[in-house]
Amino acid sequence: MTADFLLSLAQAVTKGLLTGMVYGLMALGLSVIFGVMRVVNFAHGEMMVIGMYLAWLGFEYLEISPLVSLPAIAALFFAAGYALQRTLISPFIGRPEHQQFLLLLAVAILLVNGALAIAGPDSRGVQLDSQFDSYEVGPLVLDAVRLHAALAAIAIALLLWLFFARTRTGKSIRAAADNHMGALVVGLDVPRLYAITFGVGAACVGAAGALMITIIPVTPFLAGEYTLLAFVIVIVGGLGSMTGALAGGLLIGVSEAVAGLLLQPSLKSMFSFGLLILVLLLRPQGLLGKASR
């Protein structure tokens, strides 16, 4: 173990942590939706890619940095998620899983091919002015772009936590998630709360997309990969647990970065899937999930 190696390892870990925050934000959306409605959003990666494309469009044609257009994108995603839940998904709540799966698969196909039809198959990236800036922390060099994305992701996660912990709507959503019947009995408007939840979940993934585009360019073909990645993260962290999703994002981010350093890059997701299998078998509630599900 040379000092050089340790330094590059530490560098990879930091890089993984920063990217992992954005992964965590993406997975948070999936986790919130599942935790409240027990619906698995099979279109999650597709939504992520749409978020990336919107941020790219804003940058390319309006010259707005993704970090600036992020609130608008999140708001748009909230509205779209709200509408999607109200119209398409709502009748499928409580239906057999394969029917929900087919519905969201259809949504996923429409989203990703809509992006393909409009933006084409070429990869689209954003060249920020801060592209090559970096901060030096001791011997470590932090990419400015990655650091900004990670900080923004942390801020959004905090906002989300405040929403669920402090606001009346957030508390009502948690009540509906804990006890659906009870929530109906005390007079909560559960369908509306579900629509808000789906909107919030969608806003998370839209925001994550806007951040991700500053790190890597987007193609429609990333969508399936992101859906799988989000699944891996939430299962490893604990499906339905907010801190679990963030921790899972960090863990997968770091493991990808370290595996990319130590192994061939093409082997890096093997580690994630191996971890997924182990967690499913040994601790299906996830590393940070509650024991009963």
Binding site: V40, L88, P91, R95, E97, H98, Q99, F101, L102, L103, L105, A106, V107, A108, I109, L110, V112, N113, G114, A115, L116, A117, G120, P121, P220, G224, L228, F231, V232, I235, Q264, S266, L267, S269, M270, F273, G274, L276, I277, L280, L281, L282, P284
Partner: protein
């Protein structure tokens, strides 16, 4: 005769005559179909067969597997690899292929069911194993790695090596699809089949009345994986090439599930009807997409069609259609 009566016992004469007519039509089809329509029919039968195999796990036993590409991929790779490297013909190779896939199915099933994973959790386990295997095959040089494995194309019909033209492949997949239909019917009428339905409806109640739940679920996985492996072997020799990123892809697994879900989960004829609907739509949209020349437009039509079907016929097309046509298949 007794066995035949058990198989056809509660079908109406109308159902039996329709089935016989359909079989006759399919047997004669290559005589009057052009190359294009034959290839469409081949695709339909392939999806009907592989859907039938998947239907055993999900439709009968109620376990959602989204990783069936694993068994098709393993089967195809092993038979093709044995042929490519050692000249071992597919009829011998398929024993190894089926054994490997059945073993993989047993491992995934045992782990999933033993640790009582259900629903989405089980589905994710099956996906994880398929993806894991995909990456493994991308780095396995015997199987050609990520560059793929290619079989020599030989137009001369040679059933022994499964080399030849589309007509031969048509009859092979027709035999498989018809055989799977009969097998599934027999399975459903057997004690095991009744156990599966009991588990699907309420696993805890089934356990309570003494159904060996774990063993029955395992059998569903093993039988389904073995049948799926045959589809993989056929597929590999029909297309003459294999790539890990398509053979084990999640999209391949999803493709396998669509025909039975669209046709009617748990019904015997659903996979066939679903395959007709999906392949028909796919071909029609390919033409429309080519005419419009916009990338992805075909898939957009396809997605819209799926959306319409799942919204208006969530239980599948066949249960509704069979009632309309007066064709009796008791939906178990």
């Amino acid at each position: 005769m007794n066995a035949l009566r058990r198989l056809t016992g509660n079908c109406t004469p109308r159902t039996l005559w329709s089935l016989a007519a359909l079989l006759l039509l399919l047997l004669l089809a290559p005589a009057f179909l052009g190359k294009y329509w034959l290839s469409v029919l081949i695709l339909i039968l392939y999806f009907a067969y592989v859907g039938q195999a998947w239907n055993i796990v999900m439709g009968f036993a109620g376990q959602l597997s989204l990783g069936h590409a694993l068994y098709a991929g393993l089967g195809g790779y092993i038979a093709a690899g044995l042929f490519f490297h050692y000249g071992i013909g597919p009829w011998a190779g398929l024993f190894a292929a089926v054994a490997a896939a059945a073993l993989a199915g047993a491992i995934v099933g045992y782990l999933g069911f033993r640790f009582s994973l259900a629903g989405v959790y089980f589905a994710l386990l099956t996906i994880a194993f398929s993806e894991f295997t995909r990456i493994g095959f991308e780095h396995w040089s015997w199987a050609g790695g990520s560059g793929g494995l290619f079989l020599k194309v030989d137009a001369a019909s040679n059933l022994l090596d499964l080399r030849g033209g589309p007509v031969m492949f048509y009859y092979v997949i027709l035999a498989l699809a018809a055989g799977a239909l009969v097998l599934c019917r027999a399975l459903l009428e057997s004690r095991l089949g009744r156990y599966w339905l009991a588990i699907r409806e309420d696993a805890e109640a089934a356990q309570a009345v003494g159904v060996p739940v774990l063993r029955c679920k395992m059998l569903a996985m093993v039988i389904s994986a073995a049948l799926t492996a045959l589809a993989g072997v056929w597929n590999a020799f029909y297309y003459n090439n294999l790539f890990p990123e398509t053979a084990f892809a999640m999209s391949r697994s999803i493709e396998i599930t669509l025909a039975p879900i669209i046709g009617g989960l748990g019904t015997l004829f659903g996979p066939f009807v679903g395959a007709v609907v999906l392949t028909g739509l796919g071909e029609a949209f390919t033409d429309a997409g080519d005419a419009l020349g916009i990338p992805g437009i075909k898939q957009i039509f396809y997605g819209l069609a799926l959306l319409v079907i799942v919204m208006f016929r969530p239980a599948g097309v066949w249960p509704w259609l069979s009632a309309r046509l007066g064709l009796g298949e008791r939906t178990p």
